[in-house]
Amino acid sequence: MARAVLLAVVLAALLLVPSLVSPYTLLTYTSALCLALMAQGWNLIGGYTGYAAFGNVAFVGIGAYTTGLLMLSRWHVPFVPALFAAALVSALLATVIGIPVLRLKGHYFAIATLGVAEAFREIASAWDDLTNGATGIDLPVRSDSRFFYYVALALVVGGIVITARLERSKLGYGWVAIREDQDAARMLGIDTTVFKVAAFALSAAFAACAGGIIAYQDIHVAPDDFFKIEYTLQMIIACIIGGTGTVWGPPVGAAVYQLLSTYVWSHFLELHPTVLGVLIILFVVFLPRGLMDLFRRMAAVARGGRFGSDVFLANVRASRLE
């Protein structure tokens, strides 16, 4: 009951944000929502399925280009259908790429996806006829920051609902089984390839939606602005901060990340990526299960449990080299 009230209050607050802040500040909120979307997508393949995808930015870029090119095409597709088409195109491409790449394990998968993203950046830079090369394409102008905010918010809320439903579905249980022990999962009769490709394709669709929104809001799509490794990093960091393999982890992590990031931007512009590096290291070492795990433990304390510094050292104790 308390949870339902909390959720209602948070949702009401989020709906009211555009009337409370300046259009410029609203951009920061929209970026946080887009990051949340990307993180929700990454969470499916990286969190639930346990495949360290390091190239999801490819689908942000593909989403941005597909949305933009459809809107500019001679059919002048409106934004929302273009966005859905972009998600579909991304998911299809992810399926084609995923079938060979998802056979790889561990480091090999991670680097292969990193390479796939690089390759897409090069293709976008070099395919002048379609993408206008390094110059990029210009989208129709729409200077209504509320519109972008509400579209992103709707998609993030949809993402939460979808993740929560998937978590308790055959698909979700299959992903977790693959993460814990792929051979055992296969022995249980799970078609691991189909499950993994499904996770990868869904994660691509989320990333494409974020890319499409950012593209329309920025009205310009160029290879280096969209196929940049920072996006991949940010979505993974957001997941780690919030907690991988949880429904609420990615949106919470994205919000916290955006908060920290904006603070660091405004106070130590030069050191921004340095601080990010430190943040990754601190979370990986001390809180690899993220804030959602911390909240759970704090809730347990409120019910009379014990809370010690153990929470932060548990990971080191469990995984250090003696």
Partner: protein, 289 residues
């Protein structure tokens, strides 16, 4: 393609493979022994490049003479990072060490950008432009010297790993951590030394690269990727495997670079993905012996 062109391409590939062999050996050693794919390897290379640049700029030290200094500095840094940081979480799932080294890379590269700016630097010496002419094929002296240093480092590493007590302890740890521990090997220290040697080799490669190519703090990322591809091509089996991988990769990079420069990354990674798809476990086994 004329004969001279083919000759130049072959020579360029040979000269490139020397430095890439040093880059990849450090990476392969760390991967093979500790099972860490060190994404900060490229950042170590950049530090090495700046050490040589700094010593050359302030004290006019010959870049070749600064190689031992840059190796010593990076050995110390690598040893500390492994000891204080990576050893603490090394038994956590793969994503943890992967992300940790990614964080380190971001940290190092941006600190370098903060202190040295993003300006492109190069180390110019009196002999920078000079080249040996072998018929129609040009061989710059610097690249020749870099190849010589690379060969020396490869031989030293091979001798160290096979002949010395410490080298054998490192290989034993890579083959079986528990058995090595039972024979009295201090695994935490061996891991730190291994990581230190990997970083030192990156430092040497950075010093060599600073003489060959103009660089800025972003130089390293591409070399981490190259090192990974070379390891996949050659395997982590032993020094010879890595050398073969470096040679094969250099030929591809030089040929693709001279024919289709805009798609060089797409083509090399396409090949890598194809290769991995055919042999998902990589080309060779895991142990560095």
């Amino acid at each position: 393609m004329s004969g001279a062109e083919v000759g130049q391409i072959a020579m360029n590939a040979l000269l490139l493979s020397g430095v890439l062999a040093v880059v990849a050996l450090g990476f392969a050693l760390v991967w093979g022994i500790t099972n860490i794919v060190n994404l900060a390897h490229g950042a170590f290379i950049v530090i090495g490049a700046y050490v040589t640049f700094g010593l050359h700029d302030f004290w006019s030290m010959d870049p070749f003479l600064s190689i031992p200094i840059s190796m010593a500095a990076l050995f110390a840094l690598g040893f500390l990072i492994q000891r204080a940081l990576i050893n603490q979480i090394i038994r956590a799932p793969l994503l943890a060490t992967f992300l940790l080294t990614f964080g380190l890379e971001s940290l190092i590269v941006n600190l370098l950008r903060f202190f040295f700016r993003a300006d492109t630097r190069s180390v110019m010496t009196a002999y920078s432009g000079a080249a040996l002419a072998l018929g129609p094929v040009r061989v710059p002296y610097i690249r020749l010297g870099a190849l010589g240093v690379s060969i020396l480092l490869v031989l030293l590493l091979a001798a160290f790993l096979t002949r010395s007590r410490l080298g054998r302890a490192i290989r034993a740890t890579g083959m079986d951590v528990d058995a090595a521990r039972l024979t009295g090997v201090k695994v935490a220290t061996v891991y730190a030394i291994t990581f230190g040697i990997g970083a030192a080799l990156a430092g040497a490669a950075g010093s060599l690269l600073s003489m060959i190519v103009p660089f800025d703090p972003n130089l390293g990322g591409g070399y981490t990727e190259r090192a990974f591809i070379i390891c996949v091509l050659g395997g982590l089996g032993n020094v010879v495997n890595v050398l073969a991988g470096a040679a094969a990769y250099s030929v591809v990079e030089v040929v693709v670079g001279s024919r289709l420069p805009a798609f060089s990354q797409a083509i090399t990674f396409g090949m890598l993905v194809l290769l991995l798809a055919v042999r998902p476990q990589g080309i060779a086994g895991k142990a560095f012996s």
